[in-house]
Amino acid sequence: MIEERLVLKKTAIEKINELAAALMEMGTLIAPVQEAVGANFKTIENPQEVSLDFYNTVLSPKFVFFPQTENFLSYQIAKPFTNAEPVELAITPVFLFGVRPCDTRSFAILDRHFEASSIVDPYWRKRRENATIFGYAFALDTPPDNADFYSMLGIHAADTEGSDIFMVRNDGELLLKSITSKGEQLLSELTLLQETSSDDENYYTEYLARGREYKTRTLCLEQETAAGKFEEIFYNNDFWGKTASACLSCGICTFVCPTCYCFDICDETMFKKGTRRRVWDSCMFTDFTLEASGHNPRTNVFQRLRQKVCHKYSYSPRKYDVISCVGCGRCVRSCPVNIDIYSIVSSALKI
């Protein structure tokens, strides 16, 4: 069985900087660093910056595969014709280090969207193919943040799905287990890692089992029920009006969300030179659906919030057979007015 071939290695926590340095030799390392606002994923320039002492990052790691701006083509405005050239996507191997299980799940959800139907998004795919993901289990000895609800979405605190290598902390040590063959090969190349004993093996297996028992706030949610429920209450303006009465209609929730993917395509010109690029957009913005005719189907705040929630819990299950929310709690933590999507879902289910 494949199971037998999987590799488990380890390193001391104080030596992750050496691991970071080794990865930087092999490609681009993107890992959590502590900033004034909290932890965030950054392209590492100094291996000392890497820190695994965080709960979760403020911004989600989706930007690694879906950057806030992605250049499509560049052009030079000229007479008689403006010429355009595609912008090449410079590709180096990327190591995405320290991703929490809910976020690794988000990549799989976005895969379904960006690689859906007959049209594959080439930028997403190229960036995905070039990345090796180091998943990182949540700490099980401390209680989860109040905002999190990944248990509701069937994600465990030590869920290995979506990782190439999965990391578990054991006191002063970090265990690294290969999940895919890509991860396995990388682990064998990283010679600075130590071999593990059967105790480590047992600890790892037990940690995964304990991770299944570890619960954030949760409720029983069937994908089908949720999708049906939100279809049913779509026209319940009373509910949506109340839900959105505090919403400011800013874009934070969608920008920090690991599964929000809406974007705009803009031509940005300066001194006759320009770039056509895609830029994150948000369904919470007023002009998101403003048509050239002046018609805007979503002029009210509640319509936009409804779109966001229904998109995640109803439209996505219907289209891609998956709820596009991972319960990472980022939108709840970042919301200026403390709107809680978990409460919206739970009160919707009670209607």
């Binding site: 004034a36 606002v37 403020v58 911004l59 806030q68 701006t69 109040n146 905002a147 009465s245 505090a246 400011l248 209609s249 800013c250 874009g251 934070i252 920008f255 920090v256 705009d264 803009c266 940005e268 690029r277 830029v279 957009d281 948000s282 913005f285 007023t286 002009d287 705040v301 709840v332 970042s334 200026p336 007015v337 403390n338 709107i339 809680d340 978990y342 409460s343």
Partner: protein, 303 residues
């Protein structure tokens, strides 16, 4: 501190302030009374959130909703933000802390709301806490005014001690910097902006539709979050808020990348006060300084 607190001791002299619990009770009873008597059709206050630390701005429409109203040290949101959501003519009761009331004063000055349609439930307090970091919100990040400047019903005793002498003290190190150092500071700060526009959406004074930054003709700034566009957005926003910003600090509290916008707003407010001898949002008879002039304004202000 005779009210209930969920975050340990308060280091300011807040003990003379009416307790949060008491204010909450009075807020509830006033809301109930106003709604029952039909004096207002909505009460804007705070409601229960995920936990005590995360209350939600809440609109009570019926007496049954009143049960949900809370007030504690984390109810930092500026409820003036929500006033313009209701059709003009709606009778609204709104819970306002000191600085929030200044925002309402500006909105009245600008003819956006009618004083006659408002019942202001004033809340004197100097012990609010930032939800993100738990710190006391005082004159270091806001104007620090504890007592509402405009109210119909006061829900507690007026508070008279200030923790920091002037709301502009915090500017000193930045004003002392030379231009290059200040540019480097703001460049680093504004470079982080991801243009989620939470600052303008949380701002009680930002009500333009469409906002200048969303306009496509002329396109003032690119949509992608690069320094040039961020600079255009923020500097123009500071200009648009000059003489109107009441220094409630909400823009900085909501920023997901922690840009200290309040510093800039404070600086502009301070300059406006010095140049035009008027503080924003103190008296409804005033006119915001930027839409006003005096023939005897000195040309010195241009130097």
């Amino acid at each position: 501190m005779n009210g209930k607190s969920c975050c340990g001791d308060i280091e300011t002299a807040g003990d003379k302030m009416t307790g949060f619990h008491e204010i909450e009770e009075r807020l509830k009873s006033e809301a109930f009374r106003l709604l029952q008597a039909g004096e207002v059709s909505v009460v804007l206050a705070y409601g229960k959130g995920t936990d005590e630390r995360h209350p939600v701005p809440f609109a009570a429409l019926t007496t049954a909703d009143v049960e949900n109203i809370v007030f504690n040290e984390h109810c930092t949101h500026n409820m003036a933000r929500y006033l313009l959501r209701y059709p003009s003519g709606t009778k609204i009761a709104v819970a306002l802390k000191g600085v929030d009331s200044r925002a309402v004063v500006v909105l009245i000055q600008e003819g956006k709301i009618n004083r006659d349609n408002l019942v202001i439930l004033g809340i004197p307090t100097n012990s609010m806490r930032n939800q993100q970091n738990g710190q006391i919100i005082d004159a270091r990040t806001t104007c620090g005014i504890a007592n509402p400047v405009l109210f119909d019903i006061l829900l507690g005793e007026e508070v008279h001690e200030a923790t920091v002498a002037s709301p502009y003290d915090v500017l000193a190190p930045y004003e002392a910097m030379d231009e290059d150092a200040r540019w480097n500071f703001w460049k680093t700060e504004l470079d982080r902006c991801i243009r989620c526009y939470a600052c303008r959406k949380a701002c009680p004074m930002c009500y333009c539709d469409p906002c200048f930054i969303d306009v496509t003709k002329p396109r003032w700034a690119n949509k992608s979050p690069q320094l040039a566009g961020n600079l255009m957005y923020h500097l123009t926003r500071f200009q648009h808020l000059a003489g109107r910003c009441v220094d409630c600090g909400e823009c900085s509290r909501v920023c997901p990348v922690a840009i200290p916008l309040y510093l800039f707003h404070k600086k502009v407010a301070k300059d406006c006060e010095e140049m035009f001898q008027q503080t924003a949002g103190m008296r409804i008879e005033d006119k915001p300084v930027i839409v006003d002039f005096r023939v005897e304004d000195s040309d010195k202000i241009l130097e």
